[in-house]
Symmetry: C5
Subunit: 98 residues, 5 copies
């Protein structure tokens, strides 16, 4: 899963049926230290984890994005599947949710 | 889903059966401010949202592209699944459909 | 679908059963003006559209490559699903099949 | 499968049901000599092989990530499916697990 | 399918059940002239074609990697599905198996 930060939200009224009533968030890939990767293009993910703006999350991309109750059979190629509490790299915390 | 702008259309008469009668649009990835990403190659997506040229849209890529009524069982690896009304990043509108 | 030009062909006798008797073409991604993208690596696609060398085609990649009669249940991660007649970008023809 | 090194771990309590009780590790792509690829962004994979920090592993990405007992029907787009004992390139060991 | 050269092999004893007894080869993307692409990271593929070191092969990636008898239901995101005999580009042989 991609480590990404929620940076915003998207509104789309004219969308296909199976995406209706889904919360669409704008996310951007981030480092393990919660720094945005400037070379990574922001994209839109369905929120299946109750994420909020500014949170560091895990995004399942590709077909994996459909394997949540909210996105089953939906054309969701990117879904937020978890909110990160912490990341440890080389034995040290690089991120802790405040 | 990729944030992309519809920049044109494609015509292909010799195409596989399951793509027949589908509207094929040329799209290019865009920023949250509706600027084209010049380093992103334009590609062709099936239109499942009734999108028009110049509109900012959401494109589901990969297997997700097949999960609309129009593209079920079709070799569609990219499908327009929504027309964007607005994008908000860091609490500010970066795009509003005019 | 990727916009690509057919630049050649591949022969492989020792291939898995489900690819037998399939025409394998070498394709390279192209611009909407039918210029090869030099930074894009040529790859091999199954031809499901009766394409010929030099033609500009649409290539479905990933799982979408299996959704044609010729590639059903085959390990085809790239399939030519249409021959392009024309592309229009910003209201102008950028490509017309001659 | 991607050759990657386990560099850390992730904790996420608010995650979708089907990822619960799964060990989430932070991995980064590596060379055949077990050097980290600095240009490759670390990502999170479900551990289906009992891997430990510092080990060189094989990561199945995309839909392949779901084809283990631990990840069946889960939104796992990256799963550690093997721990590498050794790699041989051009007839020479480039990596041997110590 | 990706054009790649077999450059080595991998051994992994602690791997998930469905990959057991599968030959794992190290491959690297190559040009149509059988030159390794130095910017392409070597990766590991299941051999479903009886390939040997040094051979130029076709690798199916993503879900396509599972559509061989050897990899059915396995977490194989890259599978060698054919050994190349020859490649012709622009009417000239760029590769012939010796």
């Amino acid at each position: 899963m991609i480590i990404a930060r929620v940076i915003g939200s998207a509104v789309s009224t004219a969308k296909t049926e199976r995406l209706k009533a889904r919360k669409l968030l704008v996310v951007q890939e981030a480092t393990v230290r919660n720094e945005l990767r400037e070379d990574a293009a922001p994209f839109v993910a369905v929120d299946a984890a109750g994420a909020g703006e500014g949170e560091l999350v895990l995004v399942a991309v590709g077909s994996g994005g459909r394997f949540t109750e909210l996105t089953d059979q939906a054309p969701a190629d990117a879904t937020i599947v978890g909110i990160l509490d912490s990341l440890v790299v080389d034995g040290q915390y690089t991120f802790q949710k405040s």
